[in-house]
Symmetry: C2
């Protein structure tokens, strides 16, 4: 099993001895999902905080009118969970579904509590993860408030350049909060411009 990407990621924020690393590795579950499988379903408690080794996932919300709203994508070296649900162990607002065959390293809630005792530095690590998630979410609110659909799309393209090749346009539209038809129109306009 390849734990290196996770350990590399962790070492960006904390230093771990090799004993600590093996404690982490002991508590983490490796799991493969197939394309279209769900990692979390709206209404269930989110049981894992997952690190993406390979593949691609979407986190989305289904509203009363059965409309899907994508709130984030996750690819290699990203974390993915309904953090609100995981943290409080209450039912999830979001679904998380694989867009490709996907390999995850998963921390269950209980294992994570254990690990906090075994490797106290992880308290710090996961606080940073939550903080980053929080800051990113806040920035997204600001962006949705103050930018037009076209500006949001351009920002998305520069921020996730690989993403457009990887996921269908109607999902990008959903992420941007617009219809696929309007995204198509914007793309038409942008082609024109250059």
């Amino acid at each position: 099993m390849n734990y290196q990407p996770l350990l590399n990621y962790m070492e960006q924020h904390i230093q771990l001895t090799s004993e600590e690393k093996s404690l982490v590795i002991n508590r983490v579950n490796h799991r493969k999902y197939l394309r279209n499988q769900y990692v979390v379903q709206q209404g269930d408690v989110c049981r894992f905080e997952s690190f993406v080794l390979s593949g691609c996932l979407k986190t989305f919300y289904v509203d009363q009118d059965a409309q899907e709203h994508i709130v984030m994508f996750a690819v290699e070296n990203w974390w993915c969970a309904d953090l609100g649900s995981f943290i409080t162990q209450t039912p999830a607002d979001y679904n998380i579904q694989c867009l490709e065959n996907t390999e995850l390293l998963q921390f269950s809630f209980d294992n994570l509590q254990q690990l906090y005792l075994e490797v106290p530095q992880l308290e710090r690590f996961f606080r940073i993860i939550i903080q980053n998630a929080y800051v990113a979410t806040e920035k997204r609110i600001v962006r949705n408030f103050s930018l037009s659909a076209k500006e949001r799309y351009l920002k998305f393209r520069e921020q996730y350049p690989q993403m457009e090749q990887r996921v269908p346009q109607y999902m990008i539209a959903s992420y941007l909060g617009i219809t696929k038809e309007f995204l198509s129109k914007l793309r038409g306009q942008l082609m024109q411009e250059d």
Copy 2:
């Protein structure tokens, strides 16, 4: 000085001995602000995490077109800070300004680091604060995505019933992400309906 509201709030999440309580009280600054004073300005580093003893504040963002976007209000027993800035000690995206004369209990970044050593339980407490902030922010994204302006307004009214009397309508409009004229129209419609 009246520290009781803060201690009550803390005791909802953690238990503190009376020695620990005095450690907290020793590290917290009490400060009065006048109406219209700024607690944080966009571009400055947010120096405090503040607990509201009395008064009312708005957290807002000014975009390129000098438009103000209110992201949250804070009243008695709420926390207020540009958490993203405070946590990372980097320049703030938001302004925080008093809408009334306001009394705050403030934790400076350095004092808080000290306190984490003196009262380790506070690590837990402030993680919970951040988690709650995160969850609230996430729910807000979902709401902005899937509800119409009218629905958001109704939700706002039921969630912050006291607020409408306390802050001018054009600020509520800004919080809801609509113009004051349109809010006025909605209010007209709703009067009609009942």
